[in-house]
């Protein structure tokens, strides 16, 4: 009886969807596997030292950072999502989209900006020194600490939680929240007893992105001098010249992440609910009056200022100081490079994410579950480590293909793929697939399988169903996915640095060039361009989202 089922399912794998998702998963896993395999090598003589002096401290420090940032982003992100979706107060329509803008600022740029602002020569201390004539104790202005890092990460990563939770609350929570209101619960009770529990799945989705981002960060923590797991990886590689041990550390990190994934799975699977009827009404906001309106407004304003306005204004001020020296024609080229590579990679990511998510929800087999999770793993690994995995795979691919190259008459050139943008795009896909995958998976989860089944019953195959039913219904999720992936890629640095072809500069690498040399003022212009591009995409995203709601 089992053999019968097995043989039948094998025949069905010939389905293009399954084949394509298998292919995608395999391609993405290859470099990750390369890293993981390192765990089985014999550790070398440095390992003892690493274990003794680096591992425990750095792991604890990382966990602490992740924990604090996680809690803060949830508090801020969920509170804002709740305020904005359940209430009306002054400028709420503005805050609805403005609170996504912090995503446009890469944390490393924010870190440079804030620490320079708060430094002795920064605007804030200057104000105290000259306007108020006060000499201030430096310890109150110490941004470059664990607290400062938590602040930076929270302010510039909370929109992940905000975005996903808000989408959920606005579209899905009406029935629950309205019935709680009718049951005489006050706002606080509703928030803690209804909103938090029902949006658990959305919150976990958002916060896991935050966690991965923090774990793989190197820019902020290395600038602030905070030892984390990433620091340990790079210390081992750049300091001890021991790539094997560095990759081994990365493999350990990866193992930890897989653990986290399983935990997330566990947390989420028990609360897998989609709305029980096809009628989902949008949540109707309540108008706030007087003090509470002012409080809501001020809270939103405060967060928006810290997370966007202040650093943005500061960067503009610096840009005024430096634009004459920095701006020239090459910036058009830089912007074009940044845009084109980000668009290509985003398209690939979204297509692949949609295919895999679709297959994994329809075929709820062990394989698709696990594969769908592993595929997102790249997000947690420091870019430079992925880069090495990707580089190894591509160079060996080139060696395999060298026969083909000479057949094509390209002469003795041996490296084709690994000197082209294909490698960089591929690396982006590995790194940011999770960013595209999570919203799409959540979108599918929200819609449920019933429409898909109804369509199949009406004689449409998987592909037609996807285009006629699934895609229109998860359009919002696909857009969120594209926008998040696009913004991430625009900001990405370590992969771009190592894997780009000759003469290929992006805005991020230009920013790095200046910031690395502590020329933060010169770095302001490419930073602003990155922020500008990200802002435009966020605005577009918002408009399309609104149109959809109005219909």
């Amino acid at each position: 009886m089992y053999r019968q089922t097995f043989r039948r399912s094998f025949a069905r794998i010939r389905n293009g969807w399954v084949a394509l998702s298998l292919l995608g998963v395999a391609a993405v896993l290859l470099p990750n596997l390369y890293i993981l395999l390192n765990l089985f090598h014999q550790p070398n003589e440095n390992w003892q030292h690493i274990r003794e002096y680096m591992l425990k401290d750095y792991v604890l420090q990382s966990l602490w950072l992740v924990l604090c940032t996680g809690i803060c982003t949830v508090l801020i992100g969920v509170t804002l999502a709740w305020l904005v979706s359940a209430y009306d107060f002054p400028l709420k329509r503005f805050f609805r989209w403005a609170l996504i803008l912090p995503l446009a600022i890469p944390p490393y740029i924010a870190a440079y900006t804030y620490s320079t602002m708060f430094s002795y020569t920064g605007a804030i201390q200057k104000f105290f020194r000259y306007q108020l004539g006060m000499t201030v104790d430096q310890k109150y202005f110490d941004v470059m600490s664990v607290k400062g890092a938590v602040f930076i990460f929270t302010m510039f990563l909370f929109p992940y939680v905000y975005l996903i939770t808000k989408a959920f609350l606005e579209r899905q929570s009406a029935a629950y929240i309205e019935s709680a209101r009718l049951l005489g619960k006050n706002s606080l009770q509703i928030f803690f007893q209804v909103v938090l529990p029902i949006s658990r799945s959305a919150i976990i989705g958002g916060v896991s992105l935050v966690v991965f981002e923090v774990l793989s960060d190197y820019g902020v923590t290395s600038y602030f001098g905070i030892p984390t797991f990433s620091t340990a990886i790079f210390q081992t590689w750049f300091g001890m010249y021991d790539l094997d041990s560095a990759v081994r550390l990365a493999a350990l990190l990866m193992t930890g992440i897989i653990g986290l994934f399983l935990l997330e799975k566990l947390l989420r699977s028990r609360v897998k609910f989609h709305s029980s009827t096809s009628k989902t009404r949008p949540l109707k906001p309540i108008k706030l009056g007087g003090l509470s309106a002012a409080a809501a407004f001020l809270f939103c304003l405060a967060i928006f200022s810290c997370a966007f306005l202040i650093p943005f204004v500061q960067l503009v001020a610096w840009a005024k100081l430096s634009y004459q020296d920095v701006v020239n024609r090459t910036f058009i080229q830089l912007t074009f490079n940044t845009l084109s590579v980000a668009v290509i990679a985003t398209v690939v990511i979204v297509v692949l994410a949609a295919v895999v998510a679709n297959v994994s929800r329809i075929r709820e087999s062990f394989f698709s579950e696990v594969a769908a999770k592993l595929i997102a793993m790249g997000y947690s690994i420091p870019g430079a480590v992925i880069a090495i995995g990707v580089l190894s795979v591509f160079i060996s691919l080139d060696q395999q293909l060298s026969g083909l190259y000479s057949l094509l008459g390209w002469g003795e050139k041996k490296l084709v793929l690994s000197l082209s943008l294909v490698m960089l795009v591929f690396a982006y896909v590995i790194r940011f697939l999770a960013v595209g995958f999570n919203p799409i998976e959540a979108g599918f989860e929200k819609v449920g399988k019933q429409y898909y089944e109804a369509s199949r019953m009406l004689g449409l195959g998987m592909t037609r169903t996807f285009f006629r039913v699934d895609l229109p219904m998860i359009r919002g999720a696909v857009l969120s996915a594209s926008i998040l992936a696009f913004v991430e890629i625009t900001k990405e640095l370590p992969l771009t640095l190592l894997l780009r072809p000759f003469n290929f500069e992006t805005l991020a690498t230009k920013t790095y060039q200046y910031a690395n040399d502590e020329q933060i003022i010169e770095a302001s212009i490419p930073s602003l361009l990155i922020i500008g591009i990200s802002m435009i995409s966020v605005l577009l995203f918002h408009r399309v989202g609104e149109e959809k709601q109005e219909r």
Binding site: Q450, R456, L460
Partner: protein, 215 residues
């Protein structure tokens, strides 16, 4: 050989220890309306999903209109079985209108044929004038009729209905039962009808099957 036949059908959900269904048999002749009664958890809905091809049985065969859709090495995908289904909560596509919902399964027909069929269906379920509405703009009873029209439009060999009245008001039920009976008779539809309500069965069905868990 009957028009519709199930032999020795067995099924259990992934990771479940207990069989939802073991060696289940059922045969129906053309035009019959069969009610399936049983408590919740007895596998009624699972039976419909197995017939529809939305779940894959561990063993057994299913034959629809003389064609084996599940057999030894055979599994026909749902879209090729010629089975219509009215879901418990209707699953009307929220992003398209009533008429688009009804013609959704008619993609193999020409434009003119499609219009004709739409017209017939609107007539059958008496929903003229609602073509351009979206599902959420309809009442529960109207939604149910759209769902029925959508399922019947491609002329399925057999119609499956999963608790079609569970979302309706009590005073509506009597009237709608009557309507449904008439529609099904007019369409000469073979139908399997899952419910937990004896009154449904009395009003509509020619025959009743009782289901118990694991059996």
């Amino acid at each position: 050989m009957n028009f519709f036949e199930i032999r020795d059908l067995s099924f259990r959900y992934q990771n479940a220890k207990e069989w939802t269904m073991q060696n289940f048999n059922l045969s129906i002749s053309q035009g019959q309306i069969v009610g399936v009664l049983g408590r919740s958890g007895s596998g009624k809905s699972t039976l419909l999903r197995l017939i529809a091809g939305l779940e894959e049985p561990a063993g057994g065969t299913i034959t629809i209109a003389g064609v084996a859709v599940v057999g030894q090495q055979k599994f026909v995908e749902p879209e090729e079985r010629g089975v219509g289904m009215v879901f418990q909560d209707y699953a009307l596509f929220p992003h398209i209108t009533v008429s688009q919902n009804i013609v959704f399964g008619l993609h193999r027909l020409s434009r003119a044929e499609r219009a004709k069929r739409l017209d017939e269906m609107l007539e059958l379920v008496q929903l003229r004038g609602y073509e351009r509405r979206y599902p959420h703009e309809l009442s529960g009873g109207q939604q149910q009729r759209v769902a029925l029209a959508r399922a019947l439009a491609p002329k399925p060999a057999i119609l499956l209905m999963d608790e079609p009245f569970s979302n309706l008001d009590a005073d509506l039920k009597g009237k709608i039962r009557q309507e449904l009976k008439e529609i099904l008779n007019r369409a000469k539809m073979t139908c399997i009808f899952v419910t937990h309500d004896n009154e449904d069965v009395d009003a509509i069905c020619d025959r009743v099957v009782y289901m118990e868990a694991g059996g």
